[in-house]
Every structure is written in structure tokens, then in C-alpha cells.
């Protein structure tokens, strides 16, 4: 960190907070990334072969190199990286030393892994009673599934949302096909966010109690919670599925150069949309008034417009579909929104980088990395007025901060570091 960066960092929300991460892939690393964004000093402990995310695409120029994974580069900004072999006794002793200096430890290894190493919470708190240890696993630390094997696909589909995807047109076109996971790995990120939130809540309480805590996060329960309203309807026997979720009017529609999400769910929005279409003569007919198109919302189903008359809705959908197909996503988006109607572009990653709104808010932030160069990264998840956070340092190279951490924090000499390396401890 440069002097100037240190000054900025000292005023951040989490300045002075020391976080140790022993995590793989996404959930744990995203949890600590969220903290590192806002000033926490995060030390990422990797096994000598590195976090498995290093071997995961996308790679810069498709070169499969441990320093060039876009996934790893994105998830580990602002962190220091060290390597440590926990299979080695010296490695475990050094890990304990690092834990002594930490406020929060975040790990996402299978249940029992840390205990095997003698590095479970009960053991670590002996030396650091204020330690907050957060463990993220697919199904929690106990219960019949806790030791089950689960890749992000499996965890996601155990979380309730997958059974309902795709709804709407996607289901109508493919009523017999398999349920879908959401794009990317968003279910893994969800767990990281909740883990970060609860860890900081524990930290707030520690100011009064001086006591640490062990927090366990079940990814499945994080996902089910996101569906709490939909799943709560099962109390009445109403079970959501791909077949129950559609917007009777508009919704996802194909346009000239892509797709748009059209949602004219209020009278003024419906009128705005009709106006965008040029107030065609059919729209003067009372039959196409908002009230007749939408009908009364049906209680209990959560679907807007089910009470409308199917025949009118079908007519309207056909008219809309034809018009939308002849216009570009920007024409429809800006045209509708200027008239107060809720419409979204179904953005590609290219659209995101071109978005005027995201540019005006300086959402993307360029970061220079020694091996892949300078690229825009998705920036901070929200804007804070006094402690804005910053995204400055690129993800660490494998073992990049071994000397800094082991020599400066733990007091090893450079000579000892060489010996540790030879003994395959780091």
C-alpha cells in the first residue's frame, strides 16, 4: 500500500479490522472482498497450490495461468496473499499465530476440515477469545446433509429458486425441460454477503461483551430465505413452480437488437406505454383501458393482472410484441422510462460497460495487475457518504505477501522464510 492509500484507508469504515481468510472459490472470498472494499486488512491464506479459483475460467486471453483467472482477480482485490501448508505441523502453528492477530476468520471448507487440523473455533478461541470465526458451507455444520458433496449447481438447486426457473415465456416455450440455475454463480455470492453481514454484526456486539463467536452459514438456507415470501405461500398449499410465474401483460420481450423487460403494471405506466406506441386508434377503445386489460389483482397468487380478460390480454400482447420487435432496446428503454413506464434492457456485459448511468456513477473501476494489465472491474456494491471505500490493489500473486506478513507480522527472518519454503511449509 502506498502512503496515500494508507491515509485514505485509515478513514474507512473497517480501518484497523484484521480479517484472515482461508477459503476457496467464491463464497468466502466474496465475503472478505466486501470487507476489504471498505478498509479491512484482509490476509488471504492459500494452500501452496493456490485457491481453486485460480484455475477457473475466464482466463486473460484464455491462457490457463494461475495469475490470470478473471474470477480470482475479481474476488481478491485489496487483499494480501500468503501461502501456507496446513498439512504441515509448522504450517498449523503459523496459522495459529495469524489467528491470534485477527478479528475475524472466514473459511468455507467442508465441515470438519478445520477440526481435523486442530484449527476449529473451540481450539482457536483459547488463544484469541475475541475471535469471530465464520464458516460457510452448503448445508451448515450439522444435519443429515451437512457432509454431502455439493457443487454450486447442487447447492443452488437445493435453494428453491431453481425449481421456479425459467418462469414466464421461458417456461411456455419449454414446459417439459429441466429447471435452470441462475447465470454465473450468484448463489455463492449470496452466501458471502450474508456471511459478511453477520460477521460485522458480531463485531459490533464484541465491543460490549469482549467475546468472540462462531458463526455458521448454510448456503441452502441463505437461498431459501431469499424466497421467503414465495415459499411462505405454501402455508396455503400454493406451491410456486416454473408454471406459476408469468406476467400476463408484456414481461420479457424480444426487440430488434436483443431483449427488454416491459412492466407497465400501473395505470400511468400503461398509459405511458400506449403513448410510446403513438396512442394508436385501438387504444381509445375502452376495452384497452388499464382496468380492463389488467382486471383486479387476484389475492393470494402474487400475480398482477390475472384478473384481466384473457382475450384482451392476448390481443394486447400481440400488438406489443410486434411493436417491440421493430424497435431497439435503447429506443424502448428510454422511450418508456421518459414516460414513467418501468422497462429494463436485458443487458449483456457489453451493455453494462456502455451504460450511461453506471458511467455517471463511476461504477466500474480500473485496476492494474502486473500480469494481465489494466482493466475495468465491477466496483463497490453501494456508495457511502463518509467512508466511501476504495478498490485499488489488484489480487495478490500466489504467495506475493509471504515476506511482508511472515517477517513483519510474525517476526520470522528472511533466512527462516527460505527454510520454511524449502520445508514446503509455505
Amino acid at each position: 500500500m502506498t502512503k496515500q492509500e494508507e491515509v485514505i484507508n485509515a478513514s474507512q469504515a473497517l480501518a484497523g479490522l484484521r480479517v484472515l481468510e482461508y477459503s476457496q472459490f467464491i463464497s468466502g472470498p466474496y465475503c472478505t472482498k466486501l470487507m476489504a472494499n471498505f478498509g479491512a486488512e484482509v490476509i488471504k491464506v492459500e494452500p501452496p497450490g493456490g485457491d481453486e479459483a485460480r484455475c477457473h475460467p475466464p482466463f486473460f486471453q484464455d491462457i490457463p495461468d494461475k495469475e490470470m483467472s478473471g474470477l480470482f482477480l475479481y474476488l481478491n482485490t485489496n487483499k494480501s496473499g500468503i501461502t501456507l501448508n496446513l498439512d504441515n505441523e509448522m504450517g498449523r502453528i503459523m496459522f495459529r499465530e495469524l489467528v491470534k492477530q485477527a478479528d475475524i476468520l472466514v473459511e468455507n471448507n467442508p465441515p470438519g476440515t478445520m477440526k481435523q487440523y486442530g484449527l476449529d473455533y473451540e481450539s482457536l478461541k483459547q488463544e484469541n477469545p475475541g475471535l469471530i470465526m465464520t464458516s460457510i458451507t452448503p448445508f451448515g455444520q450439522d444435519g443429515p446433509y451437512s457432509r454431502y458433496k455439493s457443487y454450486p449447481l447442487n447447492t443452488y438447486h437445493a435453494g428453491g429458486e431453481g425449481y421456479c426457473l425459467p418462469g414466464g415465456t421461458g417456461w411456455q416455450l419449454n414446459p417439459d425441460r429441466e429447471p435452470l440455475k441462475a447465470g454465473g454463480y450468484i448463489g455463492e455470492y449470496d452466501a458471502g454477503t450474508v456471511a459478511a453481514m453477520v460477521s460485522l454484526a458480531a463485531l459490533l456486539k464484541r465491543e460490549f461483551t469482549r467475546e468472540g463467536k462462531f458463526i455458521e452459514i448454510s448456503q441452502q438456507e441463505v437461498l431459501l430465505s431469499l424466497m421467503c415470501t414465495e415459499l411462505g405461500r405454501y402455508s396455503d398449499g400454493w406451491a410456486e413452480s416454473r408454471a406459476t410465474r408469468w406476467f400476463p401483460i408484456a414481461g420479457l420481450m424480444q426487440c430488434k437488437d436483443g431483449f427488454v423487460q416491459v412492466m407497465p403494471f400501473e395505470r400511468r405506466m400503461w398509459n405511458g406505454l400506449v403513448n410510446l406506441l403513438g396512442d394508436p386508434s385501438w387504444s381509445k377503445d375502452e376495452k384497452y383501458d388499464f382496468a380492463n386489460v389488467y382486471g383486479r389483482p387476484t389475492k393470494g397468487t402474487g400475480i398482477t393482472g390475472v384478473g384481466g380478460r384473457l382475450q384482451i390480454q392476448e390481443e394486447v400482447n400481440n400488438i406489443l410484441a410486434e411493436w417491440v420487435l421493430q424497435h431497439t432496446k435503447e429506443e424502448i428503454y428510454y422511450g418508456a422510462q421518459e414516460r414513467g413506464t418501468a422497462v429494463g434492457i436485458v443487458c449483456t456485459t457489453e451493455d453494462l460497460l456502455k451504460s450511461k448511468q453506471l458511467q455517471a456513477r463511476q461504477f466500474f473501476i480500473e485496476i492494474e495487475h502486473p500480469k494481465v494489465g489494466k482493466h475495468p472491474y465491477p466496483g463497490l456494491p453501494f456508495k457511502m457518504s463518509s467512508t466511501p471505500g476504495q478498490l485499488k490493489r489488484p489480487a495478490p500473486l500466489l504467495g506475493e505477501h509471504n515476506e511482508e506478513i511472515y517477517c513483519h507480522h510474525l517476526g520470522f527472518t528472511k533466512q527462516e522464510l527460505i527454510q520454511l519454503r524449502e520445508a514446503k511449509v509455505i
Binding site: G70, R177, M197, I215, I217, F259, A342, S385
Partner: protein, 396 residues
């Protein structure tokens, strides 16, 4: 203040909750579950959209909160809101940007009332920028953030989402509150936090964005498939619309799957001999696997394969979730009694804290249920004063 160990992490925090619908209430749902006292400011004639739709949805996302009713458009109502803010720590709101200021409760005003307040606004596009006032709902958060485009069959259209993109914004806003409170605890300073549901969601597809910024490649839909693992899909099982997800990450798991399906010869099949060839021939692979899974219930497949150390889970539907032995053992599912809608299933917290008593599930508040608690007990008003304000429709 009682700060015994049994209290939740946020037992010293009071939140004034001006949010409606789903995103904001989900943020304060987590704050409440962490022990904060959450007071929802509602309006008797302009009902929360969830209350209008179904009390069940409202109940699910507002457990254990208090509800008071104030007409914020009346000067006296505004005065009540300010008195409440004066003794609170956090304000959360989810109006369209600018609406709080129009009401007379913009951050500058709120800060004058309570200088160290942590105020969080949740909106689709954020509180600044040329598109800040654009209309949006959860489906639009999903579409504008890029997730809709990335979700779908490889040969199909993008996918529209529903409420989970509200709740995702809410959970991030709850994290933002923690940051604000941490800074306040250290420095005594409050601040304003602007959460854009779209921006926070883009943060969850970081690697797809990086593929574009590093390589110029636009991320596309790929169903349930993975960039290099195969098999990696959902497979039809016995029963009506029953499915199981199966993912294989290495040769060892592949061999175990072949044996578990009773087809050990597949392991010798040239089409599937290594990860790359399995990935290239995954359509054939999917057919073979389906021909086995259709003969079994989804949880049978799970049990057989998990025993063989292969990752497999049912694609869980609502009935499966509420009957799931794992979730029951973990006490995740509870029933509460609601005076208007009867027995409701509700969820516990998706976290457990060592040494702390487990979360006691609660129902959502009735409209204005806590008017007396808040106006009399908390703000020290007399019952006569409250009755007068009710007559004047200030308490509405």
C-alpha cells in the same frame, strides 16, 4: 441498557423502517433477526403493496417488527416521525430517489434531527446519475444487472426473475447498515448510504464482467452447464416435475457415478474417458444419466449418489422443502400463528451462532399494532394525545 449475552448482536440498535414491498423489508428482516428493534412506519390508507397483495407475503418478510401508522404528509405526522428518528440509530427507506426529500425527510433533515444516524436508501438505479428516477422492480434489477441475459437454456431466450432480486438487494443493504454502524461505533459519525439494487447485483457476476473487460467476450446463456465440468445438469426423476441436479468434478467422481448407476462399463467408454471428452459429449452423457434417473425418486438418486460421494441434490420444490428432514433437523422451518391468516410456515435465520439461544420465529405485525407501544411507551405521549392524533388522522 440490558446487554446480556442472550441479546442478539444488534439488541442496542433501533431502526426506523420507511420501506415497502420486498427489498427494503428484507434488509430490516435481517436487522430484526439480528436483534435490532425495527419500527415500520406505515400508512393506514396507502397500504404496503405486500399487504394489499397478500398478508402472507407481508408476514414472511416482516417477522417480529413493530408497525405504527403515521400520515407523513401531515405536519404533525412529520413531527412524530422526527421524534422517532431522534431516538433511533438507523433509517432505512426504499422510495424512488427524491421522494424522502419531497416528504421532508431527506438525509440533510434526518441528520439535523439525529446527527449520528445511519441512513440507507435502496433504489433500483441509485440516488444519483441521469437514470436515477427511472422506474424499476425486481425483474428490472435482474435484467439491467445482466443476470437475466445470462440465465436460460443455451438455445433459448433470457429469463425473467421475480422477488429474489429484491431480497438480494435487501441483504446487501443489511450489510451496508453494518458498515455504517461499525464506523459510527468507532467515531460517533453517522452517514448516508446509497444502495443501487442493479449495481450490487452486477457485483455478483464479477467473473462474467471480467471476461468482457479482459477478453471482449460477451457472456452467454448455458443452462445448467459449467465451463469445464460434465455431467453438470438437472435430470428428470420419477414423479410429476421432479428433478435432481448432478455434477461431476473429476475422474474419481465419474467412476463412482458409473458404478452407482450400475453401468461400470461407461467408465471405459472412450466418449467419456476424461473431463474434456465428457464435456464435449455431455449431451450423450445427459441422455444416459436421464435414462437411469427417471426410474428413481429425486431423493433416492441423492441418497444413492451421495453414498458414492457424487454431488447430487433434488431440485427442491416447496413441498419438498417443507418436508425436508435436513431442514427440520436444523430447525429451519417453523410455524407461527397469525391472527388474520392462521398458521404460517416461516423460516429461521440462515446462520447459527455458537452459544446463543436459537432464534424464536415470529409473525409479522398487524397494521398499526404497535401504535400504543411506540407513541405512549417509547415517545412518552399520553393516551389522550394519541387519541386526538388518531381523530385528526395523523396516526392513520
Amino acid at each position: 441498557m440490558n446487554r446480556s449475552k442472550e441479546d442478539g448482536f444488534l439488541s442496542h440498535i433501533r431502526v426506523v423502517d420507511f420501506t415497502t414491498n420486498l427489498a427494503g423489508p428484507y434488509a430490516t428482516r435481517f436487522l430484526r433477526m439480528l436483534g435490532a428493534k425495527v419500527i415500520r412506519v406505515e400508512h393506514g390508507r396507502r397500504l404496503d403493496v405486500l399487504r394489499r397483495r397478500t398478508e402472507s407475503d407481508f408476514n414472511a418478510v416482516n417477522p417480529g417488527k413493530m408497525s405504527i401508522t403515521i400520515d407523513l404528509k401531515s405536519p404533525k405526522g412529520m413531527e412524530l416521525a422526527k421524534r422517532l428518528i431522534k431516538i433511533s440509530d438507523v433509517v432505512v427507506e426504499s422510495f424512488r430517489p427524491g421522494v424522502m426529500a419531497e416528504l421532508g425527510l431527506g438525509y440533510d433533515v434526518v441528520r439535523d434531527v439525529k446527527p449520528d444516524i445511519v441512513m440507507v436508501s435502496i433504489s433500483g438505479f441509485g440516488a444519483t446519475g441521469p437514470e436515477r428516477n427511472f422506474a424499476s422492480w425486481a425483474s428490472i434489477f435482474a435484467s439491467m444487472s445482466g443476470v437475466s441475459y445470462l440465465t436460460g437454456y443455451a438455445d433459448g431466450i433470457p429469463t425473467e426473475f421475480r422477488g429474489t432480486f429484491d431480497t438480494r438487494a435487501g441483504q446487501m443493504a443489511a450489510f451496508a447498515v453494518m458498515l455504517g454502524l461499525t464506523h459510527r461505533q468507532k467515531t460517533g459519525q453517522g452517514q448516508y448510504i446509497d444502495v443501487s439494487a442493479i449495481e450490487q447485483q452486477i457485483c455478483s457476476i464479477g467473473e462474467v464482467v471480467m471476461d468482457y473487460t479482459m477478453n471482449g467476450r460477451i457472456g452467454e446463456r448455458m443452462g445448467n452447464r459449467d465451463t469445464h465440468k460434465a455431467p453438470h445438469n438437472c435430470y428428470r426423476c420419477a414423479g410429476d416435475d421432479c428433478w435432481v441436479s448432478i455434477a461431476v468434478g473429476n475422474d474419481e467422481e465419474w467412476e463412482a457415478l458409473c458404478v452407482a448407476m450400475g453401468q461400470p462399463e461407461l467408465f471405459e467408454d472412450d466418449r467419456f474417458k476424461n473431463p474434456l471428452s465428457r464435456w464435449q459429449n455431455q449431451e450423450a452423457l445427459d441422455e444416459i444419466i436421464t435414462s437411469w434417473t427417471v426410474g428413481h425418486a429425486d431423493n433416492e438418486v441423492m441418497e444413492i449418489l451421495q453414498k458414492a460421494k457424487v454431488a447430487a441434490m433434488p431440485v427442491m420444490s416447496a413441498p419438498e422443502i417443507f418436508e425436508d428432514p435436513h431442514l427440520q433437523r436444523r430447525n429451519f422451518i417453523h410455524t407461527v400463528e397469525h391472527p388474520q391468516i392462521g398458521k404460517r410456515f416461516v423460516f429461521a435465520t440462515p446462520w447459527r451462532i455458537s452459544g446463543d439461544p436459537s432464534y424464536v420465529p415470529k409473525r409479522g405485525p398487524l397494521l398499526g399494532e404497535h401504535n400504543n407501544d411506540v407513541f405512549c411507551d417509547l415517545l412518552g405521549m399520553s393516551p389522550e394525545e394519541v387519541s386526538r392524533l388518531i381523530e385528526e388522522k395523523v396516526i392513520s
